[in-house]
Structures are given as C-alpha cells and as structure tokens.
C-alpha cells in the first residue's frame, strides 16, 4: 500500500495525537485537569463551539432536505447527499464532544428514563437523539445502495417523506432551543445577546448557516474532489441566503432598538467589539456581497459570502455562550490547550470521515474515483481549523 507523506497529513496526525493525549487527561484526571472551567464559568468551548456551533453547522441537512423533498425543488437534488453526510457526521461528533463535557458521561442515557419536561436541556437531548436517528436513516440509502441491499432500501424509501417531515420539525425545535437554553440567564448574558427572541434568532441563523455551509462545501468539493461546480444551484442558494440574512438582520436591529440597547453599540467595550465583529461578518459583509449581482453570480463571491456568514455566526454562538457571559462571571475564560486539542481532533476526525465516505460511498451523483494527490482530508483540514478561530 502506498502512503504518501505530506505536510497536511503530518498536521492531521499531530492534531489527532494531541487530541488523544487530551482525551487521556480528561478521562483519567477529570474536568479540572483538562479544562479551564470553574464554578464561575461552568461551560466552555466544548459547549460553546463543539455543541452550539456543531449543531448550527450541521443545519444544512434539514434546510436542504426540506427544500428538495418538501418544497420539491428538484434542481437542488445533486447536493442533498453531501449535505446529509455532513449533517449526520456533525451530529455524531456533537454527541462525542458532549461525552467529553459531561461530568458523568456514563449517565448520558439518563434523560431517557429520568424526565423533566420543564428543562430546555431535556428537550434538546430528546430532539438531538431523535434527529440523529432520522439522519442515520436519511443517510442509510447511500450505504444500502453501495452494497446493493434492495429490500431495506425499499423500506427506507417508503418512509422517506415522513422521515423528512420529522427531521425538519425536530431541527426547528432543537436549533431554536439551543437559544432557549440561555433564556434562563437574563442576569448573566450581556444585553447585546440576551433577548426573548433568542430562539427565533438561533433558528433563522441556523438556516442561514445551513445554506452557507452548503455553498462552502460544494465549492470545496469541486476544488478537491475534482468535481464540476454546480454554479446555478449555488447561485440559487445565494439568493435564498440573501433573503434569510435580510430578515434576520431586520429582526435583530428591531430587537436591539426595542430593548433600548442600540445606543450601546457606539460605546467602546469588550462586548461592543465582539458584537461589531459578529455583525460585520454575519450580516454586513455577506449582505453587501450577495446584493451585488455581479459578485453573487461568481463562484469566488459566493464562496467569500458563505465563509463570512459561517464565521459570523460562529462568533455569534461564542458570544452568546462564552464572551457575553464573562463580565457577569467577573473573569476571562481562555480554553486550556487540552480543550482546544480535543476540539481540533474531533474536527479533524470529522474531515477524515467525510473524505472516507466520499471515497467509498456514492455521495456525489457522478461518482469519480479520486487520485492520491487529491487526498481530501489534507487539503481541507486547514480551512476548518481556520473556521474554528
């Protein structure tokens, strides 16, 4: 077997090795030794990035299946499979990250039998659990086709539409509920982000990020898997993204004004700078790029807008879950290297699994074999580590 040793392969191995050591520290020496969490700051990047951003970045799954199977926009069909793959991997990795963060991970099944329907976390747990199952079923035809298992394939296809409906409903619920989680903290979260509309904002931004991630992914796959770029499809997604961002932007502005926080935008503070960064990346830059038809129609312009949206809403999730809480906690939280190493390793494994799936399963419509020089993990890895900044 030929193994080509490249720079990015080395980086990948290094990240996974660091993650493996971090895993040892976490499970043999506890949360105290492996994180910079404290009684004042009980949630760090494993919740703020791995879970909140992870679920958000996987939102393409429900957005695209709804567009194709419910709205019947058949033109989008060629990109449904890679999107479902991303979503499925995303949710599996979110669950893995959760095992690191939970103090008693072996009790993760407890919500199944110990219920508290008043808890947002309980609802999120159920939705994520059920939706991961739905995604596994939505993904299963790809595997069943690969091994030519006609009978189970027929069964899955027969229940596909109810499955898609269920998936969209579950996603709507838990994407918004991740925002609802923070409604209980009016005394802790900075007013830039604390609003009764948090669930609405989380849901709308999940759709925006779902679309942006789909554009991002298609662009990346066309570059690195030697595929043709589905430009007309991406242009259409770009148009919808423009609409979603506009609605989100208007609501967000309305909400800030209504709560009388608009004035604070002009007063220099730690939160103000982070807020402006978020708004610039998530709204201002992509809205400008996408409203110029000349930019919107080029692959480069679309790609830039998509990356900006993704980075902008990652900033938003981190602001809600981490930076917006720091003043009330009276400290600055900076993740320990082990927290970052484990997050990095989870992302790297995600890319490796994606690449393996593309290689061995009929993910893309015209399934072309890839050559060694186009080793996907290695080329793509730096982009994502950048997205995690």
């Amino acid at each position: 077997m030929k193994m080509k040793f490249t720079f990015w392969k080395a980086v990948f191995l290094l990240v996974v090795a660091a993650g493996a050591y971090g895993t040892y520290v976490r499970f043999f020496h506890g949360l105290g030794a492996s994180t910079n969490l404290s009684d004042q700051f009980p949630w760090g990047i494993w919740i703020g990035f791995d879970v909140l951003c992870g679920v958000m970045l996987a939102a393409g799954g429900f957005t695209l299946t709804a567009a194709v199977h419910i709205l019947n926009i058949q033109r989008l069909k060629p990109i449904v499979r890679p999107t479902i793959l991303t979503a499925f991997l995303g949710y599996v990795l979110v669950s893995v990250a959760l095992l690191f963060d939970l103090g008693r991970p072996y009790n993760i099944w407890h919500p199944l039998i110990m219920r508290n329907p008043h808890s947002v976390m309980f609802e999120v747990a159920y939705c994520v659990m059920l939706y991961t199952t739905v995604l596994a079923l939505e993904f299963s035809p790809i595997v069943l086709e690969r091994f030519n298992l006609q009978k189970p394939l027929k069964v899955v296809k027969a229940v596909l539409i109810p499955l898609v409906l269920l998936g969209v409903i579950l996603s709507t619920l838990h994407q918004s509920s991740l925002g609802t989680l923070y409604l209980i903290m009016p005394t802790k979260l900075h007013p830039f982000w604390y609003t009764p509309l948090l669930p609405v904002f989380f849901f709308l931004s999940a759709i925006a990020v779902g679309l942006a991630m789909t554009i991002f992914e298609s662009s990346m796959s066309s570059k690195h898997f030697g595929r043709e770029l589905e430009l007309p499809i991406l242009q259409e997604l770009g148009r919808v993204l423009l609409v979603v961002l506009t609605v989100y932007g208007i609501l967000r502005l309305e909400d800030l004004g209504h709560r009388g926080v608009l004035g604070q935008i002009f007063i220099s503070s730690y939160e103000q700078r982070l807020f402006l960064l978020e708004i610039a990346l998530a709204l201002v830059l992509p809205l400008i790029l996408l409203s110029l038809p000349k930019v919107r129609q080029t692959p480069g312009g679309l790609y830039l807008a998509a990356v900006s949206v993704v980075l902008g809403f990652i900033t938003n999730r981190l602001n809600v879950s981490i930076t917006g809480m720091e003043t009330a906690a009276g400290l600055h939280y900076i993740p320990k290297w082990t927290e970052i190493a484990i997050t990095g390793a989870i992302i790297a494994v995600g890319f490796a699994l994606f690449a393996a799936a593309v290689k061995y399963l009929p993910i893309f419509p015209e399934h072309k074999p890839i050559t060694a020089s186009e080793e996907p993990v290695l080329v793509k890895a730096p982009v994502l580590s950048h997205a995690g900044d």
Binding site: S38, R104, H118, S119, M121, E123, V168, S177, M185, P186
Partner: protein, 257 residues
C-alpha cells in the same frame, strides 16, 4: 407552608458557628484554614463574609421557583414543598446547566473528581422533614440565623425594620428576588457590598423558558400538518403538470425560475 431562614446581619458576631455546624451536618472538613475562606465552594456550603465590622452569610437561597430545578434535564435537583432544594447525585449526568442557570452562582462542582457531584447547601432536608431546624440556625448563638415559616419570618423581618429603621436598609432580600427565596436577609449596609445583586427581576426565571417550551406540544402537530400540506401541494402540482403534458412542465419550470 414552606420553611425558610431569616439571617439578620446586624445580630451576627462572625463566630462562624453556622459554618462549623454546616460542615459537620454535611460531613465536610472544617478547620481554621477553611474558616478563613470567605466563599462557598465544593467543601464549604455556607460562608460568613466580613466587611469591616459588618458581616453577611452566603448560602444556597433555596429559591421558591429555582432556576436550577427547572433546567435539570434529569430532575436530579428538586424543590421540596417544605422549602429545601435537594440534589440526588445518582441521577446527575454532569451537564452543569444548574450552575450556568443559577442567578446566585451557588452550585459548585467537584472539578477534581472522576465521578463529580454538584455541591451546595440543601437546607438540611432530613432535619427539616423531621420537624427540626437547620444545623446553622440551631447552632447560631445570637439568633442571627432564624428558622421558621417563610411568611412568619417575612412579617418578623418587616417588624424589625419598622421598629428600628435606622438599623437597617429598608429591604428584605429574598422576598421578591427572582420570584422569592427561602433564605431572607436583613442588613445595615447595601447587599451589593457582599456580592448580592439587587438588579434581579422579581419574576421567577423558569417562566422565561417555560413560555417557549409550553408551545412545543402545539407546534409538533401543526408543523406536521403545515409541512405535509406544502409537500402535497408541491407534488400535486408536479403530478398535474405531468398529466397536462410536456409543454405544461416546461412552462411551470420557467415560472419557478
């Protein structure tokens, strides 16, 4: 009727008997070093803070409608009708949402443990259920910490302020904060000096999440019907177009674009 504690800081002499009694009751270590720690932690559920010759206790407020209880996905935390907010470690999966949600920052965590528990004052539930006082109240030599019916204690606190207005700031902490708490505080200096925030809303925090969660049962069937309806329309349109021939398909495609 629920039980409560009234702590009157003007009667406190900083003897720390409450701390020692609490440690003994909860089987926690207690010595001179721990006595000097002026904060709650995984090994210290109540602390007497000093600010010159003014003192203030910190402990779990055992809220009337506690955020920690409402957020716990596995119901490991519960508010008993007698007052105490109790914790059942065997249910806990360690999500720490209780810690994130508590407006007073009370629940502490055993960060160094591989089987960590949430630690906090639980208002001596065994004692209270047996009709006894909490350990801290029983051992207070000056009556600064008093155990009793919440309503009675509120009336008594009002009376103390009324009888001696120059001795107190005119506020009973815990009557209204986040919907009321089972620990009530009286002080001669502003509560902020001891880290008690006075900008809390007077409505119980769980209402804010419940307002959203309570809509879910309606949303699910509605969502199914609406999405199913859209599916039916879009696919029916396709079927009709197919039936009407290729020309119709082409025109509908153009329309869609």
């Amino acid at each position: 009727m629920s039980k409560a504690l009234l702590y009157d800081a003007t009667l406190c002499i900083d003897c720390k008997q409450c701390e020692a009694a609490c440690a003994e009751q909860n089987k926690l270590p207690y010595d001179d070093t721990i006595a000097k720690e002026e904060k709650q932690s995984e090994h210290k559920f109540t602390a007497v803070l000093s600010h010159g010759d003014k003192y203030m206790r910190r402990l779990c407020m055992n809220c009337q409608d506690p955020a920690c209880v409402s957020v716990c996905p596995v119901a490991a935390l519960r508010k008993t009708s007698a007052g105490p907010v109790i914790y059942e470690a065997s249910r806990c999966m360690g999500c720490r949402y209780c810690m994130a949600a508590c407006p007073f920052g009370v629940p502490k965590y055993e960060w160094g443990s591989l089987n960590p528990k949430v630690r906090k004052c639980t208002m001596c539930p065994e004692r209270v259920l047996a009709g006894r006082q909490t350990a801290c109240a029983e051992n207070c030599p000056t009556g600064a910490t008093k155990f009793g019916e919440r309503d009675d204690l509120i009336s008594e606190a009002r009376k103390r302020i009324q009888d001696n207005p120059s001795n107190y700031i005119p506020h009973i902490y815990g009557v209204e904060e986040v919907g009321g708490t089972s620990v009530l505080l009286l002080s001669s200096v502003p509560f902020e000096q001891f880290g008690y925030r006075t900008d809390f809303p007077s409505d119980a925090l769980p209402l804010r999440t419940y307002r959203v969660l309570s809509r879910i049962p309606d949303f699910i069937p509605l969502g199914f019907v609406m999405l199913g309806g859209v599916w039916w329309i879009t696919h029916r349109r396709e079927a009709v177009a197919a039936a009407e021939g290729k020309a119709a398909v082409d025109s509908s495609k153009e329309q869609n674009q």
